[in-house]
């Protein structure tokens, strides 16, 4: 993609006239993504119909662009949408490295290993976004317990100056929560592998 059209794409994403679908795996999205991009990991199984349903639920008049890091995957996703008569206005296949090389912004969320987090626990406030029944298996000591679904309306409970490590069972829901908070200006990290790695590593837990 030429530099002018890339800057144009970013302007349209920023002003909201283009929705940028990031087709890379969720984990890659969490590590770094374009501000405002929507995570929609491509799959041959039901991806395009799901995207079309989601687009139909959005306000009209929004064009779709695709963001990926591999030509084959971007082309395959584009074709799948076009077969359902969803036009694709633009594609970008250079990934976050090429995006950043053009001086365009990214949201980055560091992955924390369980070993790193346990060593630096005093520097992080932990948010456990699992459901209440999952907390019974044990939580990280002093963790705030906020199920993922409650996070949007409990965001005012958080301290804008703190650093938050987000935790779930396997690291998937915490990625979504971390991206949500990072886009709202919080400094966050994501516990890679979630509580399954924390418990498997024998790190301290608390049962409430």
């Amino acid at each position: 993609m030429a530099v002018e059209s890339l800057n144009m794409l970013w302007k349209q994403v920023e002003e909201g006239s283009v929705v940028l679908l990031d087709i890379r795996p969720q984990g890659a999205f969490t590590e770094a993504h374009v501000p405002g991009a929507v995570s929609a990991p491509y799959s041959r199984m039901g991806w395009a119909p799901a995207v079309r349903r989601w687009l139909n639920s959005q306000p009209g008049g929004v064009a779709v662009a695709l963001f990926g890091d591999n030509r084959v995957l971007v082309e395959t996703a584009k074709k799948a949408l076009e077969q359902l008569d969803v036009p694709v206005a633009a594609t970008f296949e250079g990934g976050v490295a090429a995006w950043q090389a053009e001086g365009l912004p990214l949201v980055r969320i560091p992955n924390l290993t369980a070993d790193e987090l346990v060593k630096n626990l005093q520097h992080w406030k932990v948010i456990d976004v699992r459901e209440p029944y999952e907390w019974r298996s044990g939580t990280i000591p002093n963790a705030l317990k906020i199920p993922l679904g409650e996070l949007p309306h409990r965001i005012h409970e958080l301290d804008p100056k703190a650093r938050y490590a987000i935790v779930c069972a396997s690291g998937n829901r915490s990625q979504a929560a971390a991206a949500f908070l990072a886009e709202r200006g919080f400094e966050v990290g994501n516990l890679a592998g979630g509580m399954s790695v924390w418990l498997g590593s024998g790190h301290p837990i608390e049962r409430g």
């Binding site: 984990g27 491509y42 395959t76």
Partner: protein, 252 residues
């Protein structure tokens, strides 16, 4: 651990996408032209993985590999035995090398016999245990059989020496615990094996220790004699296919 075998059911070839769910990194072993580069990319994507390593257990003589094309598509070098006589740049692998994906790791064993450059990979998932869980045996140990010794050598003496190497290599697997899973590069009637190869693509060390006929032979001469006596005809176009996989220009 994420574990996705992809097969060529017409030739009895197995390839593997193995991933670490924590880091999202994946290794692809023995990618097949018939499965295709796009299929490996899409499979990795659908399991939430990015391919960080492309490996071959050996330079194949029975089917075309897409290791180079896949490695190029994801921006890495193919990992091959340091003994592989290929004409293109690659990442040389040696006995004891470890490839780390995160909690999942592969350890290299040099297991010559089928070819000089035959490797096996022990696979670890440290989320579960510090011990290996499975072994990718390439064309060394098969389910019910072992890899033939004659496809990459020029003479009968060469095949005999390779069969003796294969004896040492396959007996080495017997040092592993019974529960370790065996995942070869072929199954069924693949031309790379002998008469006893099972249609089932995967097994365990314990089952093979007990029921693999060639592992019952504890004498190198008897093993060599048995292997050479039961050889099937070589796969059609073996020299040409191996030449292509080596990266040599082959005349039509």
């Amino acid at each position: 651990m994420i574990w996705v075998p992809l097969y060529d059911t017409t030739q009895g070839c197995s390839s593997y996408v193995i991933g670490d769910e924590v880091t999202g990194r994946a290794v692809v072993v023995d990618p097949l032209e018939t499965v295709g580069v796009d299929n490996y990319l899409l499979t990795a994507q659908e399991w939430g993985l990015a391919i960080s390593h492309v490996l071959e257990t050996h330079v194949h003589a029975d089917h075309r590999s897409v290791a180079r094309a896949l490695a190029e598509a994801v921006g890495v070098e193919v990992g091959l035995s340091h003994r592989a006589p290929v004409s293109y740049p690659f990442r040389p692998l040696r006995e004891g090398d470890r490839l780390e994906l995160g909690q999942v790791a592969l350890e290299v064993w040099e297991t010559p016999g089928h070819t000089e450059d035959s490797l096996s990979f022990l696979v670890y998932d440290r989320l579960r245990a510090p011990e290996p869980w499975m072994v990718l045996t390439g064309d060394s140990l098969f389910v019910g059989d072992v890899g033939r010794p004659d496809l990459a050598v020029a003479s009968a003496e060469g095949a005999e020496a390779a069969a003796a190497q294969q004896y040492q290599s396959v007996r080495r697997f017997l040092s592993l615990p019974d529960y370790v899973e065996v995942h070869p590069a072929h199954y069924g009637a693949s031309a790379c094996g002998g008469l006893f190869m099972s249609k089932k693509p995967h097994s365990t060390i314990g089952y093979e220790r007990k029921f693999n006929r060639l592992l019952q032979i504890s004498d190198v001469e008897a093993f060599v004699e048995q292997q050479l006596r039961l050889l099937k005809p070589p796969p059609e176009g073996a020299a040409r296919i191996r030449g292509e996989n080596l990266g040599l220009v082959v005349e039509a």
